[in-house]
């Protein structure tokens, strides 16, 4: 059993551990994350264990046992970790070993040895066994004994759940360097790519898994991430899409075999139906048609059928709409507008579904990039996003002492003041009397921060005024010109204008700025014709502002300091 490792002796990997699938990845010497295939060749390894005559089967082999040996197969258990029995929803485990109360914890009564008797195997033991199998697969692949990991967890994992997971990992011979949240890990997977550019943006991560969907709205500011809102749903998930296909194929089967029973009413038939429906769903993400084929579905009757993607999309229309609503709801929860969202990263297995990606895209303006395999050619496999981020984080911290890592993740370090408004400059617009605000540092940027802007000057150069101000984002809505009415006289149309509103064209929505508090004025004199002005803003954690204004490439310039206001809450001055 491995104790805490000296950093030099660590072999660390990233692990994503979902209710449905788990993945393992490591970061190569060149800093590239690679997802490891287990001995079955799987990179998405079902989070399942099954016992046959005392032999432990794992992953896809365990999943296959859901048909023949469901009561000794433990599946969909990740969310049970560290919970009390009374607070879990056992529904996902209906067709496998049932969780049961066991002392103050949860256990599965399974026959896990050669002996003909059931043992209560606790959730922490099951988790440890699963993690041990993942560790062994990684060790075999790397040819080194893996002894440490960064593991991803949902944003709503409780402290008790985290503690229990770390403990089980330890039993599996893994020192947990850090638990990181799944959506942030997905963003890191993208940001760590060599071609990635650091930018200030708001990103939504929609993680559409098998038993749950998790949405996070994240402010990404110069590579630092702040979660603004999250939304979790345990009804809208991959299971529901599987169910759509199960219902379809069950009905088709009944049409052709009128006297046979409904495969949904027989446990074994149901298990077969579910496994094959999930496979069909995955095929339809790539192909436009897919075959369903099960031997001896009910009463020894084999069943084959095909379905095309369009039919599937129609059948799943309601569910797809529900996925879209989860995403837009999370944006509302963050008090943001779809126009504020630069990117929607689709993660989780169901992000492969083309129609889900396009439907989510339709809920956002064109300025929002939806990153999924079918909407963005360079998308990373959505099933691998969390594990890649975890592997990258592992490589970043594996040389630190555990105590060091823990200190850095402490609220003393992570709780940080964030700007409530954007800070920027006023430029001139068509309307000479009013300036237009242009942000240099966005709202929700953690402090301290330093940003630089390069600003154009009037054609002839000369003396310019640089006004720093706060700005508030404003959504400007322009109603379309009312269409000239033909049938009705003008006097009528006023009364029933409400009724007509549905027929109106879409309104135009734009992101604009409202100028807020003016912070300072500065003058730069004798700016050369065609020159640009460089403004560097430093904002301290105490809300003090330190600005430098100079002609680009020029020396000297003007410096200004704004003290934090006396009642500023974070002021240490």
């Amino acid at each position: 059993m491995s104790e805490q490792q000296a950093p030099a002796e660590r072999v660390a990997i990233g692990i994503s551990f979902g209710n449905s699938y788990s993945s393992i990845a490591f970061t190569s010497g060149e800093g590239k994350a690679e997802v490891i295939a287990n001995e079955d060749g799987d990179r998405q390894i079902p989070s399942m264990l099954s016992y046959v005559e005392g032999e432990e089967l794992h992953g896809q082999q365990a999943k296959a046992q859901l048909v023949r040996n469901p009561r000794n197969t433990v599946a969909y258990f990740r969310d049970f970790i560290g919970q009390e029995f009374k607070s879990i929803d056992p529904t996902p485990a209906h067709q496998s070993a049932h969780p049961a109360q066991h002392d103050s914890t949860i256990a599965f009564n399974i026959r896990d040895t050669e002996e003909d008797k059931q043992n209560a195997v606790s959730i922490s033991d099951i988790t440890a066994r699963h993690l041990k199998r993942l560790r062994t697969s990684a060790s075999d692949y790397l040819g080194k004994d893996v002894n440490a990991a960064v593991i991803t967890v949902p944003t709503n994992f409780s402290d008790a759940q985290k503690e229990a997971l770390v403990k089980s990992a330890k039993e599996a011979g893994l020192e947990v360097l850090q638990l990181i949240s799944e959506p942030v890990s997905a963003v890191l997977a993208y940001d760590a790519r060599p071609e990635a550019k650091l930018a200030d943006k708001i990103v939504v991560v929609a993680d559409l898994g098998g038993t749950r969907s998790d949405i996070a709205v994240i402010a990404s500011r110069g590579g630092i991430y702040t979660i603004l809102a999250t939304h979790h749903d345990y009804e809208v998930s991959g299971f529901q899409l599987d169910q759509v296909l199960m219902d379809y194929f069950a009905k088709e089967f009944l049409k052709k075999n009128k006297s046979a029973g409904d495969p949904r009413e027989n446990e074994r038939a149901l298990a077969k139906l579910k496994l094959e429906s999930e496979a069909v769903k995955k095929s339809l993400s790539i192909g436009t048609t897919a075959n369903f084929s099960v031997e001896s579905l009910v009463n020894g009757i084999d069943f084959q059928a095909t379905i095309n993607r369009t039919r599937y999309e129609l059948l799943a229309n309601k569910q797809i709409g529900a996925f879209v609503r989860l995403v837009t709801h999370a944006v509302e929860k963050a008090d943001l507008d779809p126009l504020d969202i630069s990117e929607v990263i689709l993660a989780g297995g169901n992000a492969h579904t083309p129609k889900i990606a396009s439907a989510i895209g339709n809920a956002f303006p064109e300025s929002t990039q939806v990153i999924a395999p079918t909407t963005f050619p360079k998308a990373i496999n959505p099933s691998e996003l969390p594990v890649r981020g975890a592997a990258i984080q592992a490589s970043l911290i594996q040389e630190f002492e555990l105590e060091d890592i823990q200190q850095s993740t402490h609220p003393m370090v992570t709780v940080t003041p964030h700007l409530s408004h954007a800070v920027g400059v006023l430029c001139i617009s068509d309307d000479e009397s009013r300036g237009v605000f242009h942000a240099i540092v966005d709202a929700e940027t953690p402090l301290p921060v330093r940003r630089t802007a390069i600003i154009a000057t009037p054609k002839e150069g000369g003396d310019v005024l640089i006004k720093l101000a706060e700005g508030a984002r404003h959504i400007k809505v322009t109603k379309p010109e009312p269409k000239p009415k033909q049938e009705k006289s003008k006097s009528d149309s006023d009364d029933d204008s409400d009724d007509d509103s549905e027929e109106e064209e879409e309104e135009l929505r734009e992101k604009t700025w409202k100028i807020g508090k003016v912070l300072s004025e500065a003058a730069l004199r004798g700016v050369k014709k065609g020159a640009k002005v460089e403004v560097q803003i430093n904002i301290g954690a105490d809300l003090s502002v330190n600005a430098i204004f100079r002609e680009q490439g020029g020396k000297g310039g003007v410096r200004g300091i704004l003290q934090a206001s006396a009642q500023a809450p974070n002021g240490s001055a």
Binding site: Y225, L396, L426, G462, A523
Partner: protein, 62 residues
């Protein structure tokens, strides 16, 4: 971080504008909101280093 490029021009200084060393402080920043930043990624590590060792950006650059 990339530099912010602003293509709209700055206004011309009005005649008679004057301030000591050409800088006139006018207001203060609005209150900040305390939020938790995620302890993940290289830029967080740099932030944590600065915070724990009480270093500034420019000290960090050196």
């Amino acid at each position: 971080m990339d530099v912010v490029q602003i293509n709209l021009p700055l206004p011309i200084l009005s005649e008679g504008w004057a301030a000591e060393k050409d800088f006139q402080p006018i207001g203060h920043l609005s209150r900040a909101i305390d939020r938790n930043i995620e302890p993940v990624g290289p830029h967080f590590l740099a932030h944590a280093r600065r915070k724990r060792h009480k270093r500034t950006f420019s000290e960090d650059d050196r």
